[in-house]
């Protein structure tokens, strides 16, 4: 019987626990079978119809689904009105970039464009046996309902999902599959259906990220994104601050720049959608969602939020401490109130709700993680202060009790979960990048497993929200750019967490189950006694390209585990910054690479005691001698800054490798912290992002 710290998000799709995947040695669903289930098999294979296919959503999803269904021979019908502008053609360059010209041409060849009059369907459609309709037509309820009727009259068994951003399933009479911008690449879909369906599981099997949400007006992404836009608008009304500056301050405080996003998506359509979403929400939940007057006007005119290029902003706005506090109240107050509504209504699994903000609305931390970081009392105080500025918002839609259970695992484990069967534990990461929140949650997960006597553990992605592991979250380093001690604190703290994987468990197995594992995530996983990966995964230490000095022992730990003759490969990985394929890293960086099923199987064998086929590489505790300072064939470092970074990296490697294991952690953390305040770092990617995001 699998015990879980909290429900795995995979289970919300009807796909069980992650531990079961390792036990079974395969994924819980496969795309070929689900394609057959949704579209029929053999000669009965039907088609996917996307209506409104020339629009922003329709065109993006035609590309995303078309490219994924093409290998299974599923025709995709792109249906739209005759006069609709060609949104599909505009997608072609992106397709070429992703799949090459030949691949892109093949995908496009599987897409059948059809026009219709909006009232009746083309006769030719019958020959293509539509099995699944993804509706992406305008947000007008009557038109949508009539559209479904036309399809159902002709194809009674067709499965229908609407991409609507506002209407509940109960209003539409069909299920919801609500995607996120940018539609051609964003993998997340909010789905509304009574039980997880084959359609939803197919989306997952195709590598997308469906997340079930409840059937309420407007979905989580829209509540958050429209909500943060509205919060910015309200602050604009109260302060006169121009939208561009509010965008910068919202980005600094929360992450997104909502007004720029509207302009990028297309102000004409985005303004209307945001208004429509808020309009319907305010009808149900009151003034906290009431559209601001400025939005009401702009949904008619389609006016952009940023000034035209010839009127790029001239006068900057700096906030005093007092003004900054008011700004925070105007922005965070309504967002926290909206979060209380999402929790109160049980809109979804907390980790899913939290991830929607990060993966779809550019939140640096999900809304629940933000609330958790503030603490319940502070959140309630902030909303109270907001209500003093906007009293009618207090009349409805405020549920302070939603924050009373913050000590529960559901609240505490938004990014990291743990499962066990009494013998083996699995720790799953639901975030692609490592941050302080992940670090704290990972420690709690390890404590939980240790607390029930589990000393064999697998560390891996969650097979759902996290489809890859891209390293440390750069925004975590912003405080360290100005303060060396902060960099040391982060680096040494995270390293101590990583070492627990080596020291606290009898067996630990790191599993790279996605397409890449880089930087801090790779440093974390390499602390496991075994590291296995799917053979196509990219493994790398791209820190030098930022530049930054790895903080989680990447400068000495892999040397200590590798044979002396492989030190050059490790050094190349660190100084070159280029990733290697897992199949090329076996023996010196990782212990095993294989197909997904093989990797799952090997991980389980190792976690359950091993069959002796894979020796455990030990970590050398003494100082290493003879670690090279250069490798032949490495390209020259770029410019003064590149040379400075390489020198600092070599110094760190030499220092940390030369020290004993017990001293190396602090030594590397000191190097890492010091480098983050250096000119090279400040002039690099971290410095640039820090300046762009925080120095506004």
């Amino acid at each position: 019987m699998t015990q879980t710290m909290r429900q795995p998000t995979l289970d919300t799709l009807g796909l069980g626990a992650v531990l079961d995947i390792f036990k079974a040695g395969r994924l819980p669903a496969n795309p070929a079978g689900l394609v057959d289930e949704v579209f029929g098999s053999g000669e009965k294979r039907g088609s996917l119809v996307i209506s409104g296919a020339s629009g922003i959503v329709g065109a993006g999803k035609t590309m995303q689904l078309g490219s994924r269904l093409h290998p299974y021979g599923v025709p995709v019908v792109a249906l739209d009105l005759p006069g609709a502008p060609d949104g599909l053609g505009a997608q072609y360059p992106g397709l070429v970039q992703a799949f090459g010209k030949e691949g892109a041409d093949a995908v496009m060849a599987s897409i059948i464009r059809m026009s219709y009059d909006g009232k009746s369907l083309p006769d030719e459609l019958k020959e293509l046996r539509p099995s699944f309709l993804l509706e992406a037509i305008p947000e007008i309820l009557d038109i949508k309902k009539a559209h479904y009727k036309v399809f159902r009259d002709s194809f009674p068994d067709i499965a229908i999902r609407s991409v609507t951003s506002g209407f509940p399933s109960s209003e539409l009479g069909v299920g919801i599959a609500h995607p996120a911008f940018p539609h051609e690449i964003n993998k997340m879909w909010e789905v509304v259906e009574p039980e997880p369906s084959a359609v939803t599981q197919l989306l997952w099997a195709l590598g997308l990220i469906p997340v079930p949400v409840s059937d309420h007006w407007s979905f989580v992404l829209d509540v958050l994104f429209c909500g943060v836009t509205l919060a910015g608008l309200r602050y604009h009304e109260a302060s006169n601050m121009p939208f561009w500056k509010i965008d910068k301050l919202v980005r600094k405080l929360v992450g997104p720049n909502p007004f720029r996003a509207h302009d990028v998506i297309g102000a004409q359509g985005a303004n209307f959608l945001t208004w429509s979403c808020l309009h319907h929400l305010s009808g149900t939940y009151g003034d906290v969602f009431k559209p601001a007057e400025e939005l009401v006007v702009r949904k008619e005119t389609g006016q952009t939020w940023y000034p035209p290029n010839h009127f790029r902003p001239l006068v900057d706005w700096k906030l005093s401490d007092g003004e900054d506090e008011v700004f925070r109240t105007w922005i965070l107050g309504p967002l926290f109130q909206m979060a209380s509504l999402l929790v109160h209504e049980g809109r979804g699994h907390f980790a899913n709700l939290n991830a929607i903000g990060e993966l779809c609305a550019q939140f640096r931390k999900g809304i629940l993680a933000m609330a958790r970081e503030s603490g319940a009392d502070s959140v309630i105080e902030t909303v109270g202060a907001y209500h003093s500025l906007h009293p009618t918002a207090a009349e409805n839609g405020w549920h302070p009790e939603a924050f009373q259970d913050m000590d529960s695992h559901e609240w505490q484990q938004l990014y990291v979960n743990a499962e066990h069967d009494g013998e083996v534990g699995v720790i799953t990461l639901s975030r692609e990048s490592y941050c302080g929140e992940v670090d704290a949650e990972l420690n709690r997960a390890m404590d939980w497993l240790k607390g029930v006597g589990i000393d064999r553990v697998i560390l891996t992605g969650d097979f759902h929200l996290s489809t890859q592991m891209i390293g440390a979250d750069i925004s975590e380093f912003f405080p360290a750019v100005e303060e060396e001690e902060e960099g040391f604190r982060i680096s040494s703290g995270w390293s101590r967490t990583a070492r627990r994987l080596d020291e606290d468990f009898q067996i630990s197995v790191g599993v790279v189950n996605g397409k890449r594992c880089l930087g801090g995530m790779l440093e974390l996983l390499m602390h496991c006694h075994y590291l296995v990966a799917v053979d196509g995964a990219q493994l790398g230490m791209p820190e030098i390209t930022l530049p930054v000095i790895p903080g989680m022992e990447g400068c000495h730990w892999p040397f200590r585990k590798a044979d002396r003759e492989d030190w050059g490969k490790v050094l190349t990985l660190l100084l070159g910054g280029r990733p290697v394929k897992a199949s090329e890293a076996t023996g010196w960086l990782i212990d095993y690479a294989g197909t997904l099923e093989e990797t799952l199987g090997m991980a389980w064998i190792l976690a359950t005691g091993g069959d002796g086929s894979l020796p455990r590489r030990s970590v050398e505790g003494a100082g290493l001698e003879g670690v090279p300072t250069d490798v032949p064939g490495l390209p020259e470092a770029d410019g003064v800054m590149g040379r400075a970074a390489r020198t600092a990296m070599v110094d760190c490697i030499q220092g940390a490798c030369g020290a004993g294991l017990s001293e190396a952690l602090e030594l590397q953390a000191r190097h890492s912290g010091a480098f983050m305040t250096s000119t090279a770092c400040k002039k690099g990617e971290i410095g640039a992002q820090y300046t762009r995001t925080m120095a506004v």
Partner: protein, 392 residues
């Protein structure tokens, strides 16, 4: 009483007036700058821009897209309202405020934003078809060619100052004394923190959104000594580099509202600022510095007030000669006026000059507990303009 309109106390503000070519303002579209600055000033004063329902703008130097006048400036402020543009050389700032009051008086608007601005730096050059000129076409640099040539008289502004000084047999030493005193008044006001209450430091961005410069001082204004003034070479009679103003850039704005709305908008609604009267006079050719005195005398005659009734007296004085002649004609001690500074010291961006004078004068009057405020100045064409406000 001229008007039923009111100026809500404490809702005003002005950029500093850096001398031409000394600040980031030399690089900007000044109409855009004025609109964006007005939004910031109103924010600092606690006024939502949506309170404004009309805008009067004042400027004298052509700026890019000036055809669109107040509607464009209000768009840059972030609130699209109607309005128009007014221009009367250095009288522009006062005329704009008075016309703002007229908009309230005629019942068409409740809250009028008055936004005045000019950029003398790199002023545009107009190319005019001129059939009577042998060139057939003439190019005019808007600022310097106009300063240097009154088409009605053929004389420069500075020549008018010299002619007037000779008419009144003005003493050069007294002119230097006035100028020295004016600088002392300005720096005393600055040191006291007075300017911090009416001036707003503003950060200017370049096209990439990065800092271009901070406009937080009347750049170019330096401490001056009496000996230094005395040693200066005369450019015309009683006019030296130290006793005349200099070109500068900037903006200045305030609100004019109905009595009720003024009370709602002001952080101190108990302060009531009224319009009392206004007049203009035009004197003989090239005697511009005496015109303001005639305008003030006419205003006093019509209102029945005297200079003794004035709590604050403040003027636009491009030449120190102006103040000497005013003092002589009105029998008024020039030491008692321009207590917080004046355009002779902080410069001459034309459009906003008298707006800043009004703002400083009203703020000073509030400090003094109220009373009548006399604001006046000269303008191109040998014109004098004067107005009286009352602070209760």
């Amino acid at each position: 009483m001229l008007s039923r309109a009111r100026i809500p106390y404490g809702t005003w503000g002005s950029s500093y007036f850096p001398a031409w070519q000394t600040s980031a303002l030399a690089e900007v579209n000044i109409g855009q700058f004025a609109g964006e600055s007005m939004a910031r000033i109103l924010s600092l004063r606690g006024v939502k821009k949506t309170e404004l329902d009309y805008m009067v703008i004042g400027s004298t130097i052509p700026w890019h897209w000036k055809f669109w006048t107040a509607p464009l400036v209000s768009s840059c402020m972030g609130h699209r309202i109607p309005g128009y543009h007014v221009e009367q050389a250095c009288a522009t700032g006062l005329q704009a405020v008075l016309l703002g009051a007229a908009e309230v008086d005629n019942g068409g608007s409740d809250v009028v934003g008055v936004v005045t601005f000019d950029r003398t730096s790199d002023s545009p050059v107009g190319v005019f078809p001129e059939r009577r000129a042998h060139e057939r076409t003439q190019a005019i640099a808007d600022v310097w060619d106009n300063f240097g040539f009154d088409p009605a008289t053929g004389n420069a502004m500075i020549t008018a100052a010299g002619i007037t000084a000779r008419k009144y047999k003005t003493d050069r030493r007294e002119v230097d004394d006035v100028a020295y005193h004016r600088y002392q008044q300005y720096f005393e006001a600055k040191d006291s923190g007075f300017l911090d209450r009416v001036m707003v430091p503003l950060e200017v961005l370049n096209v990439a959104g990065r800092p271009l410069g901070r406009v937080d001082d009347d750049y170019g204004v330096r401490e001056i000594t009496l000996d230094g003034l005395r040693a200066m070479r005369e450019l015309d009679t009683c006019v030296t580099g130290g006793t005349q103003t200099h070109a500068s850039d900037g903006m200045s704005g305030l609100l004019v509202a109905t009595e009720e709305r003024a009370r709602e908008l002001s952080p101190k609604p108990e302060i009531d600022i009224q319009f009392v009267a206004k007049t203009e006079m035009r004197t003989h050719p090239s005697l511009m510095p005496e015109a303001p005195a005639f305008a003030v005398q006419k205003l006093l005659d019509r209102t029945g007030l005297t200079m003794a009734d004035m709590a604050v007296v403040k003027n636009h004085n491009p030449f120190a000669v102006n103040d000497v002649i005013f003092a002589e004609l009105l029998d008024y001690d020039w030491r008692d006026m321009n207590n917080t500074g004046c355009p002779l010291v902080w410069g001459h961006p034309q459009g906003p000059t008298l707006t800043r004078v009004i703002i400083e004068a009203l703020e000073e009057a509030v400090d003094l507990g109220g009373g009548h405020v006399l604001v006046f100045g000269c303008a191109a064409g040998d014109v004098g303009i004067a107005s009286i406000f009352k602070v209760n």
